[in-house]
């Protein structure tokens, strides 16, 4: 099969999945017991107020009409308005600031994880059955077994409290603000950004660090046993070159796919890390809106997360197929 056809199929499939996800979220609201109007209307509201509210929320229409309107609105990226604060649209500016905050946190965590994990995995595989290998293995076992909200609390206890700076409460600056200030000649904002980012990113990144270390180690060990390694050693290629040019490169390709699938864990982890550090992101907003029973906001947040998740997975798959065309035929 050609790459163009593969690309088309993959994109159509992910559009289907996003549509399915949107439908599931829509259905969830109908499974929810209780009338949203009862929750939102003041307790002493008369029938007129309730009917007006119902009409404003579009709940007086039959289900299929509501569904149709919901899907067509989604197609033009209209996520509706908050049910609690009726004049606030789901996609207003507060939402995007929060979205950016979550993305910054997730990206920083991933970068930390990659920077630590790949060298650790390589060392572990090359010096198999040495102290450093056992250390790395133990670390990665602990890392995938530690609940990250607890890890965050422990980092606060052991680092933030003694240092006297707990990165919670007031949100730190956003990266684009920090960079803007840096070019304007004020590096202080960037320092603030780093100070606020360090512990949350470390907390969120630990699971991924452990996971990538484990994957790199076992992948390297599998590759080292292959014939081409023996061949390249036999022709006298320096060991470092063999390892990094050939073995590591071949190891990394499948890891990327697994990481794409594990991205869900990262997003879920971000939600709970945000709660621990009172990080003003999408995850905290989701929890807050769940408690406020603000279903349009919940729908909007969940769908945006799903779209992000599916798109990244699609891009990863397409990249993978480009790098290793064998998967196209599978």
């Amino acid at each position: 099969m050609q790459y163009g056809r593969f690309l088309l199929r993959r994109v159509v499939h992910s559009l289907f999945v996003i549509w399915g996800a949107a439908t599931v979220v829509f259905l969830l609201r109908f499974l929810t017991p209780g009338d949203p109007v009862t929750v939102l209307a003041p307790p002493d509201a008369g029938d007129e107020v309730r009917d007006a509210l119902r009409q404003r929320l579009g709940l007086d229409e039959p289900v299929h009409v509501q569904y149709f309107e919901y899907i067509t609105d989604l197609m033009v990226a209209d996520f509706g308005k908050s049910m609690e604060v009726l004049d606030r649209s789901v996609l207003d500016w507060i939402f995007w600031t929060r979205f950016l905050r979550s993305v910054e946190l997730a990206v920083s965590a991933t970068l930390i994880a990659i920077a630590i994990a790949i060298p650790l995995g390589v060392i572990s595989a090359r010096r198999r059955h040495t102290v450093s290998d056992y250390g790395a293995t133990l670390f990665s076992l602990g890392g995938i077994s530690t609940p990250n909200f607890w890890l965050g609390l422990m980092l606060i206890l052991l680092i933030a409290v003694p240092v006297g700076f707990i990165p919670t409460g007031t949100p730190g600056p956003l990266l684009h603000e920090a960079v803007g200030d840096l070019f304007a000649g004020d590096p202080g904002t960037l320092g603030d950004w780093l100070r606020f980012m360090f512990l949350p990113a470390l907390t969120l990144g630990t699971y991924f660090t452990a996971l990538i270390t484990r994957l790199t180690r076992s992948g390297m060990l599998e590759e080292i046993g292959k014939a081409y390694v023996k061949a390249s050693r036999a022709k006298g290629l320096p060991e470092t070159l063999t390892m990094y040019r050939h073995v590591l490169r071949n190891t990394l390709i499948p890891i990327v796919t697994i990481l794409g699938l594990q991205l869900g864990t990262l997003i879920g982890g971000a939600i709970i890390t945000e709660t621990v550090f009172e990080w003003n992101g999408l995850g905290q907003l989701l929890i807050e809106r769940i408690n406020a029973r603000d279903w349009t906001m919940i729908q909007g947040i969940v769908i945006i997360i799903a779209i992000g998740f599916v798109s990244i997975n699609t891009v990863v798959d397409l990249l993978y197929a480009y790098l290793d065309p064998r998967v196209i035929d599978e």
Binding site: T32, P33, T146, G264, I287, I290, V302
Partner: protein, 366 residues
């Protein structure tokens, strides 16, 4: 269903691998403590000792120090009436560790060790039942999709892919949102040991520490909603594995032979496809138990569990103490979670290494 060859392989791997031994020991110890909680726990996990009435105030006690000579001290703030002026004032009281509360107490004066022991019940039960329920839905779904193939397979697996569009915690929280107005559905599981110790149906000599057991809580609160939610979130993984296995098994000659002998599809699925697909499913189930324990802890940390006697809820409860020196309230339940999840993960590594001949003897990978 388990052949002698597999048994031999499990045994050999077990003797060779220290990690497998540690994992099994951890899991067995935790399950035994969970089952025999009323006998093991030193106190009733729910009793509060905040100094009301005649009861002595035992709140915020620190744990015993493992190193003699370096004792931990707890600090707690109390409101007292000044005898001379008659005004209320806040006094900080230092609290030494107490032998009968080895891991200390929380702000309500509840014994932390006893809470950990009872918390193991909820974690293990949700982990095992959640993974079991997910397998019960996912395995038949995947087997049918893979075995029948064609359009049906396409349709079923597309539908399953939709579930994968949601990160598991996001989906779990959204589902919790659906159920939350019904009141979190929990059920009280009566404790057979306590019931037996309180009545005379079983001679009390047969129950260790019968007098103590009779004073323990009569029932454990079990979070039904959370168990259903974690199963709903995770069944897809079972479906995917089962489908992949069924897809390759249906091309085997013994399946063709069975079919030509006139066996029905149901019989073939039950007698031939399922037994041959079972090993990867078991390995996945083990990993899922570890994952679900973590998911349950996250949900109860966020307050979505419906019971407060869980490890996650206890971590949340101790959060405020972190900046005021009461570090042990949140720390201890976290260590318990790590012990349980490490144990189950090591068990999973052992099963995978022993059952999957492709990567035999290599204890890496996920």
């Amino acid at each position: 269903m388990i052949s002698d060859r597999v048994k031999a392989s499990l045994k050999r791997e077990f003797y060779q691998s220290r990690a497998a031994q540690v994992g099994l020991a951890l899991v067995v110890v935790i399950i035994l403590t969970a089952v025999f909680a009323p006998m093991v726990a030193p106190h009733d996990p729910n009793t509060q000792r905040v100094g009301t009435g005649d009861a002595e105030d035992r709140s915020d006690l620190p744990p015993l120090s493992p190193i003699p000579g370096y004792e931990f001290t707890g600090v707690s703030e109390q409101t007292e009436v000044d005898p001379e002026t008659g005004e209320f004032e806040t006094v900080t009281v230092e609290r030494p560790a107490d032998r009968s509360y080895p891991l200390g107490t929380n702000g309500r004066g509840q014994d932390i060790l006893s809470r950990l022991i009872y918390g193991a019940r909820v974690s293990m039960l949700v982990g095992l039942l959640g993974a079991g329920l997910a397998a019960l839905v996912g395995v038949p779904y995947g087997l049918v999709a893979g075995y029948i193939g064609g359009r049906l397979d396409d349709g079923l697996m597309r539908a399953a892919d939709v579930m994968l569009a949601f990160p598991s915690l996001v989906l779990a929280i959204a589902l919790i949102g659906v159920f939350q107005d019904t009141g979190f559905h929990t059920t009280e599981l009566p404790d057979p040991f306590v019931a037996a110790a309180q009545s005379d149906t079983v001679p009390n000599i047969l129950i260790p520490r019968a007098d103590h057991v009779a004073t323990m809580p009569e029932a454990t609160t079990f979070p039904v909603t959370v168990t259903m939610v974690v199963a709903l979130v995770n069944w897809v993984w079972f479906a995917r594995i089962a489908r992949g296995e069924a897809l390759s098994i249906r091309a085997e000659e013994y399946v063709t032979a069975a079919r030509s002998l006139g066996a029905s599809n149901l019989t073939i699925l039950r007698k031939h496809v399922l037994p041959n697909a079972i090993t990867p499913i078991i390995v996945l189930a083990t990993i899922q138990v570890a994952f679900i324990i973590l998911l349950e802890a996250s949900l109860s940390f966020l307050g979505f569990s419906g019971t407060d006697l869980t490890w996650g809820a206890d971590i949340q409860q101790g959060r405020n103490g972190l900046s005021s020196g009461r570090w042990w309230i949140s720390t201890m339940p976290g260590l318990a979670i790590i012990a349980a999840v490490v144990g189950v993960n090591l068990l999973g590594d052992w099963l995978r290494d022993a059952l999957d001949p492709g990567i035999q003897g290599e204890s890496g990978g996920v």
